[in-house]
């Protein structure tokens, strides 16, 4: 254990015992570490790519199972493709926090066009903001729709399931032709 006399040590006694790298001109000793680091980086990157089911499969689009009978969604496809999670979050907050369950949306015909009445005014219909009661009524097999696309897009790991369905209960898919 040190005591008071340490404070009074002279310059000579304070000479650092360890080798100080800042005084070296030669950085070659760091080379193995640099190579090792690069190798670890490459291995991790390759590993992630391979784990994502290999390089070749990236271009094959997922075969999504679309609803059998329903032809129209509550919004158009482009909107749903990019905004479905925002819509679901808005619904969630509206129902759970705002206690507003119903929503009025424009009625669409079989081609997806908004229906107008004789006076040219948009015709509305009321739907329930509900993942299980509205979305999953048509998309009755989320494993072949939500999960497949999420895995393709790399937001869910292969074989994993969406967090929604940790709580919300998946419906039993209805039998359909060609399956």
């Amino acid at each position: 254990m040190a005591d008071d006399k340490d404070i009074q040590k002279t310059e000579e006694e304070y000479r650092p015992t360890e080798y100080d790298y800042r005084h070296t001109e030669d950085a070659r000793s760091d080379m193995p570490f640099i190579v090792l680091g690069v190798m670890v980086f490459v291995a991790l990157m390759l590993g992630a790519t391979v784990a994502n089911r290999g390089l070749g499969k990236f271009r094959s689009k997922p075969a999504l199972e679309l609803p059998r009978d329903a032809k129209r969604c509550i919004r158009d496809t482009a909107f749903m493709r990019s905004n479905h999670m925002k819509l679901l979050n808005d619904w969630r907050d509206a129902v759970v926090r705002g206690e507003v369950r119903k929503e009025k949306i424009p009625r669409r015909d079989a081609t997806g066009k908004v229906v107008k009445d004789a006076a040219g005014k948009t015709v509305y219909q009321t739907i329930e903001r509900s993942l299980t009661k509205t979305c999953l009524r048509c998309h009755d097999n989320p494993k072949a729709f939500c999960d497949r696309c999420h895995v393709y897009a790399g937001v869910t790991r292969p074989g994993g399931s969406l967090k929604c369905f940790h709580c919300h209960i998946m419906p039993n898919p209805r039998p359909r032709a060609g399956r």
Binding site: V96, E99, R101, T132, H166, C167, I169
Partner: protein, 255 residues
Amino acid sequence: MDRGKRNFLKIAGLTGAGAYVGFVGAEAIGNKPGKAKKKLALVIDTRKCKGDCPDCIAACHREHNVPEEHNPNFKGPPVRSSQGIKWIWLSTFGGAFHEQVNEHTGRRKDPLVVLCNHCDNPPCTRVCPTKATWKRESDGIVTIDMHRCIGCRFCMAACPYGSRSFNFHDPRKNLKAVRPGFPTRTIGVVEKCNFCAERLGEGLLPACVEACTKKAMSFGDLKDKDSPASVALRSAYAITRKPALGTGPEVYYIL
């Protein structure tokens, strides 16, 4: 790093911090709880309920997918009963009203039904750091947003009635059968009785009230003089648990 970049980072940091303070202020002002329009209450007549049938508990737990405490099919680490989930359950008189116990109350052997009291002034909602639990302005139900809960369990420490449970395990592992109509919960969130808000929305009575064959439970809005709960409270003397704490429980017991 030159001085310009440093100063830029400093100014950006300070601006961000200032904007956040404004955001917090706006959140604080915008979230003042209003007065509940309805005052939903449950009156339990312990002269009729002797705590000897499982009807209300079974109905509630089936309705809300409340997991069994010991599922023989459960795979994984064993679930201790102290880590189980309870929405409505039985307590001794001394447990629920232990400030009321004297040497003669020992005669009162019948268990009591206990559940969340849906307090007028709930301490659990006061402490929540993410506004995941609050008292609904429309009907006074103390509710939880399961999507928002971070599982800090501050509300469990704040509740003086032990009414809140935490999902120590994946609840689906402990469910024998899942009822499709109501979501299960997920690992790591807090849950409790919701006064069957989902059934009330459809014009139904809470599952426990409906299931009670002894007609021992009266449910309704205390602001409505003719609701079953108001009528029951006029007919007999009723007490609440721990009234001295000022929480204003809305579950009443007729003794």
